[in-house]
Subunit: 442 residues, 2 copies
């Protein structure tokens, strides 16, 4: 990159409250009974803040996974609602960024703009928004619909949703608020703007009833790895949360996405690519291997089979987990994650795999090793332009995060790859992203 | 009542961030520049908590009021979003109840149930929900519609919305979560319930992905004073936020609403009637009068005329503020607050009023006096069964609240009418309301 002082960005992620794994509540070090106690989250995020993580990233979905018999029985389907969680965290943190996940398929842009603008004010500019389109029919059924929106429809809706929201954030120009008590003038109406948006999915008049967020707008995070996902990301995302894949694939993805930016008038440094990377750390290789085995054993066979049925969009409960899968699933009839099913197809076209082997390959984006080994992998991805940083969904919480902080961060710091202090200011300052100019002030 | 130890319930209300008055930002003691700084709210609510208020109540609307020229120019249209605010407050308070206002006309029950359930868990059972139906076409226009829902439609929707939400709160029975790490059983599917609701406005499958709130469900607050509003309140509300009206009218309202409870199988003590009462306190009568005049002068003539046009649903900008209003407005063509327009009609049928006089009558639910006088009024309403307590939208914040705490609360305590300590536990415990039983466990 030419710049030897470049440092990586790090996000601490929570997929499920007790870790990335759907059965992480079973991990011997986890106490999932505190899952709806706010102190559980406060302790985790304050620990990440003491360690100078860029942001805390929280996944979401809008239903209880109940498609198969083992779902409610074995999976943790309970989670706090993201905006409520992040708002509660804003008042007990000072520096770390807060990235809730919000679906564009089952929300209204005016509500989300208000909530995120409020959160950005309250946190003094520390918000990011992980834009997702949701994936399951069961979510649609909690919102007056039978079927989830079809893939390309939901991406068009997502693009329009983000546009409307960004427009609402610009409602109030920076100098629109006069607050002259004597004259009685609160605001200058010339500097308060209507959106009057009328599109395929939304009609929104504006203005927003919250003034412009300190960051201009929250940092936009996007995870889609499908063609539509990458295009939406190139157009609007500032952080891309990508799958953790082998180095050469990760470099290709990095080049692909950065290469799409020019057509939207954007520079490569305006987007951070941060793969999802689970560090499983042991003080020795043997300890790391043992940790990995514990995680591998968390999901019982019945749950493994049912998760795989879910991913494939096809019930495989009649098949053995240990004999080669007798079919390759098709893209058609699958309206869930396009990039995941693509990956499954590529894997199965390359080699015959049993359901258990397939599951391990698609469900596992972890790397187990000693602190030095983990830090070396991260350094390689970072220096080889496969990543600008990492968003880390730890295998179990808070232990996985604590181990990483205690064992790996000192290694990364020794290499000069991670900060020792926050730069101060907003999340944009922490990430090195610029503050967008209000469209009406240009 | 027979019970001499009965004490009143008190809510500290925030209508606009700097007070009840739409121009309260102009009050000499107000610093409205901090309106999006969380510390402003934290200080106010922590003060109310030190004073042992039952709850903090925050109003809301979903638009910038811009119907007339003076609107954006003179009114404070900026406010933090209520759920974001309450979640941030939950982590810096311990005892006080948190009552956000949420519209049933422009939300989805699954989202609201998740957010309120999360907030109830995080606050350890301190939430209330002020159920409103919204009132302006401008709000509809931020949510894909041209016109606000017609009055009876929006009350039917509100009733269904509340029913769905209460159903979702019951998704998980108290003993549904097993969390047996060894067997891998997270929950007992027999005790996790689908709602499968299909009604006039909503189709919602469930279950909710947050377990049952500590309070069973948030305390339901309702303000409607129209016929449909009173009926909805009698059916579901636990706190009724009513207009502050003369004693005999207040007693009649109290009897009316409590009398409607029996047909829904409810007891009079299951609903608290809490009029909206603005105390304007001076150490002397002269000081109170002076305070009242400051508040009366905050709204400039142009804004007064435009607010009245808004309330009447009819532009009166061509009329003098000081000559009798030449017409009586009609219920028809008015789809805003039915109880307010009813009150206007009753006032104008009784006597000829100028717009300015009418405005003062409908916009003013304050009582100005010495601490003893204010405490006496509150005692009378309480003892004469016109009120079980009060929700107080102070004329300016934080000063109006601080004055009340310093000057009036000691009087109420001297009379034995208000607590000196919280009882401990949830908001239901503070208010003396019972915890609802899960419908599936009955």
């Amino acid at each position: 990159m030419g710049n030897n002082n470049r440092q990586m960005s790090l996000g601490a992620m929570m997929f499920y409250p007790s870790g990335e794994n759907i059965a992480s509540w079973r991990h011997p070090e986890v106490d999932a009974s505190q899952m709806l106690d706010f102190d559980y989250y406060k302790n985790i995020v304050q620990a990440a803040e003491r360690a100078k993580f860029d942001l805390f990233f929280y996944a979401d979905n809008l239903y209880v996974w109940d498609r198969y018999d083992s779902s409610i029985r074995g999976a943790n389907s309970i989670r706090p609602e993201p905006i409520t969680l992040m708002a509660a965290l804003a008042s007990v943190t000072k520096h770390i960024g807060l990235a809730p996940t919000i679906s564009t398929s089952y929300n209204e842009p005016y509500h989300i703009a208000r909530k995120m603008a409020t959160l950005d004010h309250f946190s003094k500019g520390r918000t990011a928004w992980n834009v997702i389109t949701s994936s399951a029919d069961e979510e649609a059924q909690n919102f007056n619909k039978e079927k989830h929106l079809e893939h390309s429809t939901r991406y068009r809706r997502a693009a329009e949703f983000v546009d409307v929201t960004l427009g609402l954030f610009d409602s109030w120009e920076e100098d629109s608020i006069v607050m002259n008590k004597e004259s009685g003038e609160f605001a200058d109406p010339e500097k308060v703007h209507y959106l009057n948006h009328s599109g395929e999915f939304f009609k929104v008049r504006g203005p927003l009833n919250v003034s412009r967020p300190p960051q201009g707008h929250p940092v936009l995070v996007q995870a889609g790895a499908s063609e539509s996902g990458k295009e939406l990301a190139a157009r609007t995302a500032e952080v891309i949360f990508s799958p953790f894949v082998p180095l050469e694939d990760a470099k290709a993805f990095y080049r692909d996405v950065k290469g799409r930016l020019a057509k939207y008038g954007r520079e490569p440094h305006e987007v951070k690519i941060m793969p999802s990377f689970i560090p499983i750390v042991g003080r020795t290789e043997a300890e790391a291997k043992e940790q990995l085995e514990i995680v591998g054993d968390l999901i019982p066979d019945a749950l493994c089979r049912d998760l795989l049925s879910h991913y494939l969009g096809q019930d495989i409960s009649h098949l053995s987990l240990d004999e080669p899968l007798p079919f390759i699933p098709s893209q058609e009839n699958n309206n869930q994650s396009k990039s995941r099913i693509d990956r499954v197809i590529r894997l199965l076209e390359k080699e015959r795999l049993t359901p258990r082997q397939l599951f391990k390959k698609i469900y596992n984006n972890s790397f187990a090793g000693t602190p030095e080994q983990v830090a070396d992998v991260m350094e390689t991805y970072f220096k080889e332009e496969a990543a600008d940083g990492f968003i880390m969904p730890f295998a179990h919480l808070p232990g996985g995060l604590d181990d990483f902080i205690e064992l790996v961060l000192p290694e990364l710091r020794r290499k000069g790859l991670f900060r020792t202090e926050y730069p101060g200011g907003t999340l944009r300052d922490t990430l090195g992203l610029t503050r967008p100019v209000n469209r009406y002030s240009r």
